[in-house]
């Protein structure tokens, strides 16, 4: 134990659900030696004013992010498919509820 250098513990990303039914949103990160301590720290850091009802924690090194340099090429295939949107289609005059 003497050889352990000063540690601030591993980093965890904190996601907050503000109320049941809504998507989880990234809030920031905390340090925690294990998941229990990380959870306590996340509550104390990001939940002092009724910010939500649920927390997800993810070890930061488990997050896989897309590469910003490839963004243009990577997301390009979704740009030219107008037929994926409902407005692409012509509906016959007089048709209701469609």
């Amino acid at each position: 134990m003497e050889n352990v250098k000063d540690t601030q513990w591993p980093i965890w990303e904190v996601f907050i659900q503000s109320q049941p039914g809504t998507p989880y949103k990234h809030a920031g990160s905390v340090h925690g030696s294990d998941k229990e301590i990380a959870m306590q720290n996340a509550r104390d850091t990001y939940f002092r004013r009724n910010e939500g009802t649920s927390i997800w924690l993810v070890p930061t090194d488990c997050i896989i992010a897309s590469n910003p340099d490839d963004a243009e090429m990577f997301f390009d295939p979704s740009n030219d498919k107008a037929y994926r949107h409902p407005t692409f289609y012509t509906m016959p005059e007089g048709a209701l509820n469609i």
């Binding site: 134990m1 352990v4 540690t7 920031g28 294990d34 104390d44 850091t45 002092r48 910003p68 340099d69």
Partner: protein, 312 residues
Amino acid sequence: MEHIDHLKVFETKIEQDINIEAKDWMPDDYRKHLIRQISQHAHSEVIGMQPEGNWITRAPSLRAKKILLAKIQDEGGHGLYLYSAAETLGIGRDELIQQLHDGKAKYSNIFNYPSLTWADIGAIGWLVDGAAIVNQVSLQRTSYGPYSRAMVRICKEESFHQRQGYEIMAKMMAGTAAQREMAQDAMNRWWWPALMMFGPHDTDSPHTGNAVKWKIKRQSNDTLRQKFIDKTVQQAEVIGLTIPDPDLKWNEEKKSYDHGEINWNEFREVINGNGPCNRQRMSNHIKAHEEGEWVRKAASAYSNKQKLRVSQ
């Protein structure tokens, strides 16, 4: 493979007010500037807990004590939001704390002044947090995404801080002659250091150039300082406090106040370690950090043991 002109992509984003995110390419100096500014900001939040912590045991009522505890806990939380933002730039919190202890990283000068009476807790909330809010509201639009988001979160929480401080001052000004005198004395001691929080005049500010170009800083030191003065003078008048500046007067032409000369010698002295509390603030922080070492190590050892159990 097409060659990407990273600098151009970066500059275009800045120009179009598109935030820079952690994994985006950025110039080294942009990264360095942000690490310096965000860590200084984080250290300020944490060191700022000390002058207020000084009064927890002596708060004049249970209500006041609960409020003060909640406020100080917020400051700790704000420090953590900011360390978290700094870490997205690729530096560890242990390193940031080491830089603070080595004197390589600074924190706001204001926290090197002592909190002598209960009125100082009022003045800190009203004036120091008030000045910080003016700066932080502007920084919500800073170009680096994680810093901007931390600022939005902090601004939501700060206005309680300023209001509780102003309430303390208002109560004391409605109290006995001794209480009014105490409030005015706190005003006299905190006014000028609060103005110095915005940093040197625009003409003398060494870091402003790049910070403005890269939209890290959205408004200049003098602009922000002026904003703070203009909104605070009226608040002082309402509760009967005098601004300790004989040269302060309304300028009808520019629709704001002219103010007297700031004592920049004092500013430099305090920055260079010769303020009333520099050594005390730092030695308290180092002591708390060192005394917490066994806790950090024990928790790490426990976590390692759990992992071994799982793998066996």
